[in-house]
Amino acid sequence: MKAYKLKKEYLKEYLKSLEDFGEVWGPIKKGEIDVYEKITDYSLLNLNALRPILPLKKFLIPPKFNTFFYTKDGKYENALKEVKRKIVFGVHPCEIHALLTLDRLYKERYPDYYYLTHRKSTWIIALSCVPDDKCFARSLNTHFVEEGFDLGFTDLEDYYLVWVGSSEGDDLLRHRLDLFDEKITSKDLNRYIEWRKWRDNQYQLNLDLTAMPDIMELSYDLEIWNEIGERCLSCGTCSMICPTCTCFNIADHLGIDDEPGRRERFWDSCMLKIFALVAGGHNFREKRVDRVKLWYTHKLKAFITEFGKPACVGCGRCIANCPVNINVAEITKILKGEEVKK
């Protein structure tokens, strides 16, 4: 993969120039949280943002969007024909790993038109990160990426090392080649090696998830799950913020007056009670504990069966956001009988 250098003072000018390709989005601080937003004022860009509240999935499967419009006479048309190109800057490796997983889920076996349409027009500029006490990407080997981005920025203090990850990325870079330095010296190499070593050692939260599929299976009927179920509020926050949770529902809305009706697809959560209700009113997961179990089975077991790796990428969003402190780290520790801080 070819790499260039970009002096930090050029970053904002460079990003702004990318508006020639489409909207430029990046993390912006809003009170306590960071949010991926369309950038209008580049001084607001938060380069230290670790986990924008809603992950990259919001670009690929927006929280709600129309799939079809229909009229009373039974005619219908596809409601999503084109999506404006967005260039998302500041995406961390763990999120790109989530993206690669979603790609498999949505591009293989029954390719999802809506995902593909959004995906094609979402270009990604990755940015290296320094973990805080909630990141555990290293435990999942998702702290680095080699694919899944168009340009990849590694922060080496006064400049960025910029990796070109795709032909679209090459277009983005060539757009302002004048700002980049093509010459990588041995000094740069050494700095990169030093940085990588240092950065990999910054992880304070380290989990051993190797045996999780078996542990999920063996713990399935144990009392500890009931305690976890008691604690869960079924609020669905975990599903909304998790970068690999993409369950959705579909509903039709009638048009008012002469407006066409629309079929809408929107995020859903298996944590909500009515998720598994079937005809006749039978609910297969009436109890909260069953729903929490399903969530963790899906993250830590099912995905391994399906894709060879867990659905968790160690981003720490569940740690930062669950109101009752149920999260992958906590669950792993409880199931493995390790010390848990209350």
Partner: protein
């Protein structure tokens, strides 16, 4: 632009009539007649019926791919969508996408005996398998069709099944829990009682397919296990809430599987070794 698999095909209702009270037969075909022969499916698969303005829901295909051109469904009126569906008349248009699901492992069943056990509405998907087997009679050994309903007026496809009794190349056994008409000429009793009519079956060379109300499964499976039919040759279809049918929306997930793509047909072995399947 890639194909949009969520886009349903307009289909015309060719025939519809009540099978029993609140369960209606729908025979449909694509509005574009050229498409009629391009819909390939397997017995045991289902389709998503879509009414714009109301929604979509999964329904088993009751017709057999061995009789191409028309698709048939047996639909029970139970809620919002089915309520609307029942208001539609012949020649009106509905939208359908699919087929979805794994269907019965039909090729593996070639050369085997078939025991098909249906209860109530379970006759809808199993009729597809039965018709397929009858249309390809040489591919199978003995065929048994066991069907139970609560009362004679709750038995789906009654006339059609009674006619099958005239055939010598299958054993069609019909039973009702209770005869309140006085004119019932078939068996009386629960469906498991029909097992006493199964004779000289080589269990290793037999596939069983079961579909019916949840209470039925346990008793029927006990019987099949007693006959020593291997667990992975006992097939059953399961129901979950479904939204997409394509392994995307997550609604039908049970543990590690998607009912819509990995099912709805499962073996008894699947049910035993995967948690929460039934």
């Amino acid at each position: 632009m890639s194909e949009n698999l969520y886009e349903p095909i307009p289909m015309r209702i060719v025939r519809r009539y009540d099978l029993v009270e609140n369960v209606r037969f729908f025979q449909v075909r694509p509005v574009e007649i050229e498409r009629a022969l391009t819909i390939n499916y397997k017995p045991g698969q289902f389709m998503m019926i879509s009414l714009f303005g109301v929604g979509e829901a999964p329904f088993s295909i009751s017709s057999s791919p061995s009789r191409p051109g028309l698709l048939e469904f047996g639909i029970r009126k139970i809620g919002v969508l089915t309520e609307e569906l029942f208001k539609l008349k012949e020649n009106e248009i509905i939208h359908i996408r699919g087929p979805y699901g794994n269907g019965f492992p039909i090729e593996k069943m070639y050369g085997y005996n078939l025991i098909i056990v249906a209860g109530g509405l379970g006759a809808v998907p199993l009729r597809s398998l039965l018709l397929y087997a009858l249309d390809n009679r040489d591919l199978f050994k003995k065929i048994y069709f066991l069907y139970g309903a609560r009362r004679p007026n709750e038995m789906l496809f009654l006339r059609e099944f009674l006619e099958l009794k005239e055939r010598e190349d299958l054993e069609c056994l019909l039973t009702v829990d209770k005869d309140d008409t006085g004119s019932w000429t078939e068996k009386i009793g629960v469906v498991t009682e029909l097992f006493k009519y199964l004779k000289d079956i080589d269990p290793q060379k037999t596939y069983a397919a079961v579909c019916g109300p949840p209470v039925m499964y346990r008793f029927v499976i006990d019987k099949l296990v007693n006959l020593q039919i291997p667990k992975h040759q006992i097939l059953m279809t399961l129901e979950r809430r479904m939204r997409c049918g394509m392994g995307k929306c997550g609604h039908c997930v049970i543990g590690s599987i998607y009912t819509c793509v990995d099912g709805p047909v499962f073996t008894y072995w699947d049910v035993l070794h995967m948690k929460d399947l039934i």
